[in-house]
């Protein structure tokens, strides 16, 4: 479904990604684990079209998207929940969800999808008129996820959904990710919390200093010594 082929990405003079390749198949949860600054978010930002690879390409369902603008990529069905949630803090929960559906104009269906998001995240329904900036971190994460779902993505990119959340909330968020996947959305998950990510993913890649150093099924990686030492605390 998604094929990232040998991409090199730079921030100015800084070479952030060195020939990263990965694939995501339809229906999977694939996770990208690695330390802070390894290039995980850069990979997602490149897939979403916020960054352009200097060489290499990204293809979605056979179509090259690495030369497309971000809005075109959203229209093709890739939606991202960015790191740090990035909700529109000065706008209401409802407005955030409406913006998630920006590329759509079928207002009846949008209303139905907002209802669906509220069913998945009942706490958002209680706070729909509230400014997003006044929500707790966990609620903001739910809002960012609900907002990303509003474009009806077939591939959902999640960047550090566990960041800054209490363990109980992390569990809740991860079980929601599994639900979203079960209802037919493919997921590419970037995480520092390798334990949780490997527990729900089908396949995984390990990123270190801008390179993929390991890949395999989630169980294999969870069992491998290198991963256990570096990311799973022994």
């Amino acid at each position: 479904m998604l094929k990232v082929d040998n991409i090199n990405v730079f921030y100015g003079a800084i070479h952030a990604l060195h020939g990263v390749s990965l694939t995501v198949n339809e229906g999977e949860i694939v996770t990208l684990i690695g330390a802070n600054g390894a290039g995980k978010s850069t990979t997602l930002r490149t897939i979403s079209g916020l960054l352009r690879p200097k060489t290499g390409s990204v293809a979605f369902e056979g179509k090259t998207i690495s030369d497309m603008k971000a809005q075109g990529i959203v229209k093709l069905g890739i939606s991202q929940v960015p790191e740090g949630r990035r909700v529109f803090a000065n706008m209401s929960v409802m407005e955030n969800l409406e913006l998630g559906a920006f590329i759509r104009s079928d207002s009846a269906e949008i209303a139905a999808d907002i209802k669906m998001v509220f069913e998945r995240f009942p706490r958002l329904a209680e706070r729909k008129g509230q400014q997003a900036g006044t929500l707790s971190g966990g609620e903001q994460q739910m809002l960012a996820m609900g907002r990303a779902l509003m474009s009806r993505p077939r591939l959902l990119l999640l960047d550090e959904p566990s960041m800054g959340l209490a363990p109980l909330l992390v569990k809740e968020i991860f079980s929601i990710i599994q639900e979203i996947n079960a209802s037919g959305t493919t997921v590419l998950l970037v995480e520092q919390n390798a334990n949780m990510a490997l527990a729900i993913a089908h396949r995984a890649y390990v990123v270190e200093t801008g390179r993929i150093t390991l890949e395999g099924s989630a169980q294999e990686l969870a069992a491998s010594d290198a991963v256990r030492k570096a990311y799973l605390g022994g």
């Binding site: 971000a70 809005q71 529109f88 706008m91 409406e98």
Partner: protein
């Protein structure tokens, strides 16, 4: 001392101030919207106001338009000019250091001013009286029909703007881009288009201000945008740059302060008062009257 006369005088100056202030407010809106969305002080904005006044002038004199069509035409032409300026001068510098864009804005401003002199000649023109002047005497306070017109047009435009920004899809997109451009891109918002529309709206409002000033003061010239442009910029800073209601409030306050200073001290100190406001606000509340320091939640 006659207190009732003094009171009438104060009310009179406040009314004069509000009409000039709503002109400042209309210009300040463009400054603040553009700043809110690309963090640029568009120094060419005052000259767009001049451009609007000239389009209004030619529409009413050469083409014999009445007021409303001339106003609309001025707004449309200025909106297109604003979009072209953004496309040609600012967009190529989108990822350049901010100083480069700022200097470019000053260059565009000079181009419009002295290009304007070249094209329409530096002489001051008399704006035709598109409205018969009627003076209303309400309990000793005199209000002219032009003042009523300025206030009415300004209020209508601000209501339309507020509705657009708060309720429409494009308005929500503008607020989203202004708050977090990358997050807006991830929503599928065409950021370039939103920026373009912001320039169009801001320029249209400035052009309306230009036509209203032509009607109010009857005279226009190619350098007329410099001072009101600066003052509207101060008004935007006073209200809190990037905040739309702040620009409206700042504009009105600027106008009223200027009128009071002119009326009770001397009109010589009018401009000094405007810049004193800038200094005071920067010292006491740099974020502006309606500005607040937003704390990020992690």
């Amino acid at each position: 001392m006659d207190y009732s006369a003094l009171f009438l005088q104060v009310v009179q100056q406040i009314i004069n101030g509000i009409s000039v202030g709503s002109i400042y407010a209309l210009i300040a809106l463009g400054y603040t919207m553009v700043y809110g969305i690309i963090r640029l002080i568009n120094f060419a904005h005052g000259d767009i106001y001049m451009l609007g006044a000239y389009v209004g002038f030619y529409c009413t004199t050469v083409f014999q338009f009445s007021f409303l069509p001339a106003l609309l035409m001025a707004m449309i032409v200025a909106a297109i000019a604003g979009m072209i300026i953004e496309r040609v001068a600012y967009r190529p510098l989108r990822y350049a250091p901010r100083m480069a864009v700022l200097i470019t804005a000053i260059g565009v401003s000079l181009l419009l001013e002295y290009g304007g002199i070249l094209v329409v000649s530096p002489q001051t023109r008399t704006f035709p009286a598109v409205f018969p002047t009627t003076l209303y005497n309400i309990g000793g306070v005199i209000i002219s029909s032009q003042q009523v017109l300025i206030l009415a047009v300004s209020i209508i435009l601000m209501v339309i703007l507020t509705y657009t920004v708060q309720r429409t899809k494009i308005g929500k997109a503008m607020r989203a881009v202004s708050f977090d451009t990358d997050a807006a891109r991830l929503m599928g918002i065409n950021v370039d288009m939103v920026i373009s529309i912001t320039f169009a709206i801001g320029s249209g409002l400035a052009a309306a201000a230009g036509v209203l000033v032509g009607v109010y003061y009857n005279s226009i010239d190619p350098l007329m945008g410099i001072m009101p442009g600066l003052k509207a910029f101060i008004a935007a800073v006073l209200g809190g740059i990037g905040i739309i209601p702040g620009a409206m409030l700042g504009g009105i306050i600027m106008g009223v302060v200027e009128a009071l200073v002119s009326g009770f001290i001397s009109s010589t100190y009018r401009d000094a008062a405007a810049f004193a406001i800038l200094i005071i606000i920067l010292l006491l509340k740099p974020a502006g009257l309606l500005g607040k320091n937003v704390r990020e939640k992690v």
